[in-house]
């Protein structure tokens, strides 16, 4: 029907793949893809062949064998008779611990420093500038090693507490030593016990226990927060209808705090204070020197970058916004929380994701201070004692990749929520 308007059909010639601009880019891409696949194939087959000729075929069986080494920091039960897979799991938990706590602390310090750097107070602004420049211009590794050296070389050893040369802080509840800091540990006298999970799977490698006490406390806490949300919504409705907002903060605080405190009391919460016995402090929670050095160094370092991101985010909001808000009669605190921050967040979050990823990956520097993260267990001792370099490194890369993808997807989801909704 449309034959009249069609251009005369050109016959396809091979040369057109190169000379015809319509096809050229496709040709190049296909060629590059083929070259890439051949290259990858060559690397993989070369690796396989060489490993085979060394008699070292890829084999993950060693993961089920007993690890035979001890790990100092274990968030869950572990003995040297557990498997290499479990040692890796213990390491993974240690990585996650320092990554999560690091991200939290870095964000808190970063926001604080970033906002203060914009302060009109000259001194405060300068001090924050010095902080940012000093921290981000020295490699993380140096900060970690430096902190570790300070802890081991300057703080008192546990035996100094015995001889009375050093004393515990905060009314004798906290001991700061060169092996780490010991703090009181919360314990329940009427504990509900634990639920055991994943027992018997993969030689018991991934078994863990969930504290029922914790679940109950969390449920009560979340329940309180939900109810508090309901109270807020009711207040919103009243305000919309009458223009007057009922005072609810004491009610909202009460529904969160009171039931939680009550449950804690029911469970018989008390604190066990660390005590020096023999060579070391016993009882209480032991924050090891390696953990403290790594956690603090990573947090302070990353905080310097986050501070800059926060500052950039706030400065990206045009001055007209705050002036308009002020003209509407909002107080400066409310301008920040209702007008500036919600908009600044959109600028802040994408680069913040990269900082979280950086911190998590930098946590593998743990090895410098002997913190037993996944690089220290799976990529360190297990790799070395079993000689399974390739298997361990492949697993390690896969694990870091998974953690990073998880972090970015959570943050992207959050970004999606706060971003400008176009109507």
């Amino acid at each position: 029907m449309t034959t009249l308007t069609d251009p005369p059909k050109e016959s396809f010639r091979l040369g057109m793949l190169i000379y015809d601009s319509r096809y050229r880019s496709i040709t190049i891409q296909v060629a590059a893809l083929i070259a890439f696949l051949i290259g990858m194939g060559w690397i993989v087959s070369n690796t396989m062949n060489n490993l085979a000729s060394l008699g070292k075929e890829i084999d993950f069986g060693f993961l089920k064998e007993p690890a035979s080494y001890d790990i100092n920091q274990r968030l869950i039960e572990y003995t040297s008779r557990d498997t290499h897979a479990r040692a890796a799991f213990i390491g993974l938990l240690n990585t996650l611990l320092v990554a999560v706590l690091g991200c939290v602390l870095a964000t808190i310090i970063g926001v604080f420093v970033g906002v203060l750097r914009l302060s009109k107070n000259w001194l405060v602004g300068r001090v924050m500038t010095v902080y940012v420049e000093a921290l981000r211009n020295v490699p993380t590794l140096l900060w970690i090693v430096f902190l570790m050296a300070i802890i081991t070389e300057t703080l008192p050893a546990p035996r100094d507490f015995k001889s009375g040369e050093a004393e515990m802080l905060l009314g004798g509840t906290v001991a700061v030593t060169n092996r780490g800091t010991y703090i009181p540990e919360p314990v329940f006298s009427y504990s509900l016990g634990n639920i055991k999970l994943l027992e018997g799977f993969y030689n018991n490698s991934f078994r863990f226990e969930v504290s029922l006490d914790l679940i109950v406390i969390l449920c009560v806490l979340i329940g309180g927060i939900l109810i508090s949300g309901l109270i807020k919504r009711r207040a919103d409705r009243v305000q919309a209808a009458t223009g007057d907002r009922p005072k609810t903060w004491h009610l909202r605080l009460a529904v969160v705090v009171l039931p939680t405190v009550f449950v804690l009391w029911l469970l018989g919460l008390f604190f066990v204070v660390p005590e020096i016995k023999g060579f070391n402090f016993r009882d209480g929670i032991h924050l090891r020197a390696s953990f403290l050095a790594l956690w603090l160094a990573l947090s302070f370092y990353t905080a310097a970058f986050i501070a800059e991101i926060v500052r950039a985010g706030i400065m990206a909001i045009s001055k007209g916004q705050s002036e308009a808000a002020a003209a509407l009669g909002l107080r400066s605190g409310r301008i920040m929380s209702l007008v500036i921050l919600p908009q600044a967040l959109r600028v802040i979050i994408p680069p913040l994701i990269s900082q979280y990823l950086n911190l998590t990956k930098n946590s593998s520097l743990a090895i410098a201070v002997g913190y037993m993260d996944i690089t220290g267990t799976l990529g360190g001792i297990t790799l070395n004692q079993t000689g399974r370099e390739l298997e361990c490194l492949l697993l390690l890369m896969l694990i870091y990749l998974t953690i990073s993808l998880l972090i970015s997807s959570v943050m992207n989801w959050y970004n999606e929520r706060v971003k400008l909704t176009e109507r």
């Binding site: 070369n46 690796t47 062949n49 060489n50 490993l51 000729s53 060394l54 008699g55 070292k56 035979s68 080494y69 001890d70 790990i71 100092n72 003995t79 040297s80 008779r81 081991t152 070389e153 050893a157 035996r159 060169n178 092996r179 016995k277 023999g278 060579f279 070391n280 016993r282 020197a289 390696s290 593998s364 090895i367 002997g370 037993m372 690089t375 220290g376 990529g379 360190g380 001792i381 790799l383 070395n384 004692q385 079993t386 000689g387 370099e389 390739l390 490194l393």
Partner: protein, 338 residues
């Protein structure tokens, strides 16, 4: 450090087959230098002196092999390796041999595909503590914090020992002896554990060695010896028989002082065979007649190396003990040269 492991692993994957298949002897000759993996610094065994020259008991083995193969005991490139990097360095071909306080175990021999060519030091694992701690036995260490080098047999023995004795401890993992020393002296750990010889060497480098004691318990067998990669028999034989030549030399009374005299010919055919005046043993593995002569001349026989580097007249002060010749009640014993 991590980079080394990673590239090492890639290298194992990528080039190892080539490195294994080719004759290490030819490689070393073509290079004109022996790449020898040693520790990062353990006085008496392997440590650079003030002028940067490596010296020590393990270094002596490297120099003897270089002298046998290349005719020059100084033609050695010393590659410092930690407990963790040493095997990757050897497997990837970065070094031709390791002489680094390395314990001969089944899995290293069989699973990691290495070849231990002999034992140059019979050792066992011990503990060192500050005298002021008042500890006299390893059994008193319940609850102690202990510095331990990762990637070693000693780390596994430590776990076994405490488990078997139903005691608890807090391991502080460290990478090198220097780091362990620093942590131990700062009091970050109560005790330091490694091979007893390593403890003696470490203690000798302290400012006040007398303030520290080595506990009487020896909790393991640590036969330390040089090793090479699996699969190159000729190269393995060369390193093995160089070590044996040093040991036999002591047994037969060949020393660096009298070797030139003996090399003119003696009434003892075994001495003649070793020094190349009778038969041609060297040709059987691709070396000349004088290989063993040069190896012994490089630093003296086994006993001389021992006395000079770690013996009772050195600050390290180790007695021969198990490492005496078999004739003197020790375990050091070389198969015959014939």
């Amino acid at each position: 450090m991590k980079k080394t492991v990673f590239f090492g692993a890639l290298a194992v994957a990528g080039v190892a087959a080539g490195a294994v298949a080719a004759g290490t002897l030819d490689d070393v000759k073509a290079r004109g230098k022996l790449n020898c993996g040693v520790s990062t610094g353990l006085v008496g065994f392997a440590a650079p002196d003030a002028n940067g020259n490596w010296d020590g008991f393990d270094v002596g083995v490297c120099r003897a092999v270089a002298a046998a193969v290349l005719g020059d005991p100084t033609a050695v490139e010393f590659v410092p390796t930690t407990g963790k990097t040493r095997f990757t360095a050897l497997a990837s071909g970065e070094v031709d041999m390791l002489a680094r306080n390395t314990t001969w175990t089944f899995s290293r021999d069989v699973d990691l595909k290495f070849e231990f060519v002999g034992i140059n030091y019979y050792d066992g694992q011990g503990f060192m503590v500050p005298k002021s701690l008042g500890v006299t036995s390893a059994k008193d260490l319940d609850g102690a914090t202990i510095c331990i080098q990762t990637g070693t047999t000693t780390e596994l023995n430590l776990a076994d020992f405490f488990r078997a004795n139903n005691m608890s401890y807090e391991p502080v993992p460290i990478e090198t002896n220097a780091e362990g020393q620093q942590q131990y002296l700062a009091g970050a750990c109560d005790a330091y554990t490694t091979d007893a010889s390593g403890l003696a060497a470490t203690r000798a480098s302290f400012e006040n060695p007398k303030d520290h004691i080595i506990l009487p318990e020896i909790i393991s067998k640590e036969p330390l010896g040089p090793l090479v990669r699996h699969g190159d028999q000729q190269w393995g034989d060369i390193v093995r028989w160089t070590l044996n030549a040093l040991i036999s030399a002591e047994e037969l009374g060949i020393t660096s002082a009298n070797i030139d005299e003996l090399a003119k010919g003696t009434q003892n055919p075994e001495i003649n065979r070793i020094l190349g005046t009778e038969g041609d043993l060297g040709a059987m593995f691709g070396l000349d007649k004088q290989w063993a002569y040069r190896a012994i001349k490089a630093g003296g026989n086994y006993g001389e190396l021992f006395e000079k580097n770690i013996g009772e007249n050195t600050p390290i002060g180790l007695a021969r003990g198990l490492n005496a010749q078999w004739k003197d009640g020790g375990l050091v014993y070389s198969p015959p040269f014939r």
